[in-house]
Amino acid sequence: MLKSLAVLGLVTILPAGALCAQTEVSVALGVTGWTPLVHDYVVQSIDAKPSPGPTIALGIGHSIAPRYTAGVTVSYSSSALRGNYGTTSSDLGHVRTFTAMGTVGGHVSGALHWQAGAGFLHYFHDSQAGFLAGSGTTRLLMGGGLNFRRPMLAHWDLLATANYDFHRFSSPDLRSHGYTQSQGVQRIALLLGLARGAR
């Protein structure tokens, strides 16, 4: 994961001239909101839900047609995870995720662009208890979003992004406790950053 981030980070700090005219790179910071990772019922309703957490996203794309691009976006997010039931809120530690998505995108109108893609999301966890104990888990991911890009400096554009994605969550520990199927989890990320390259 760190290697991927480092490679994309290096690409973003390359001089603009080193980039192919049809290639764009971006870096953005923001926040990701979640629906519950697990919705359960034991006498009372239980939600295990990450709180909105900081997110960093790096992207690289290349024009594949006059109005379309294809690329890769990776992101890293960290959130506090809490179990909520009745009037109780329990501390389940932190959930950290790394996401890699292959994307295609296009122009909507003006400075607005769309993108959609699929990839994977990996959960890390640092607690020895709870449903993410032990090793993490990797899930398939689908999503899309809108980008607003406005020229700001000679080579840099201001980038505002709203992304939505969803995946089906489960973990080895949940399965060992008798849980079947998986939980639909939706996320929305609002990011602000810089982009340069193809416009």
């Binding site: 919705h39 034991v42 295990a48 109780t88 329990s90 208890a129 709870g130 969550f169 639909g184």
Partner: protein, 218 residues
Amino acid sequence: MSHRSIAAVALAAGLAAACADIGAPTRADLYEWRKVVGTDTLSFHWPQSFLPVRIWAEDSDSLPNDADASIAQWNHVFLYHEYAAVRVDDSTTADVIVREAAPPAGDDILLSRWSLGSMAPECQATTLPNIDDTRQAHLPMHIYITARFSTALASTQACLALTLTHEIGHTLGIFAHSSNPNDIMFANPAVGRPSARDANTAEVLYHSPANVSPVPGR
């Protein structure tokens, strides 16, 4: 089918996949965990503000290692951190004290696991939750555990280990015994770890009202 129809079907399938909940186990298979004392029924679980519960084990035979294993087994039962325990090195800060000794005489509620000679003669134990008439549990709780034969024997070591898991089950709030010998909370336990029924009982216990409150005693 038109492209628009295909897109609509795909969107509907995607939304259904994104929203569906996980299939949770029913946890219907459980046993009574409350302690009936006279006309009163005592129900206890540790509040979140007391977690992790601090357990001190006397450095005698394999007691510290057994305590670590027992704590790990019970911690693993709880998916949402309703209960968690750690072993501490300082007995003066402990919420639960485990000693390899016979229990003192007294009139406290005893949650005992006395070995039945023909079934498991190797060890015996007693848990004292120190609950008074006002339904307050004065900490620390005490677990007394003793071997009846040499602790060099593998069977005695196994008995001490599973009995300690049983007694820690009492301190987390299972104040009664299971009638099923496959459960660790069976009065004379023979299994090495909490069963699915033990886990169901513990989880339901922690989502049910308690009428006994812990009171720091130190």
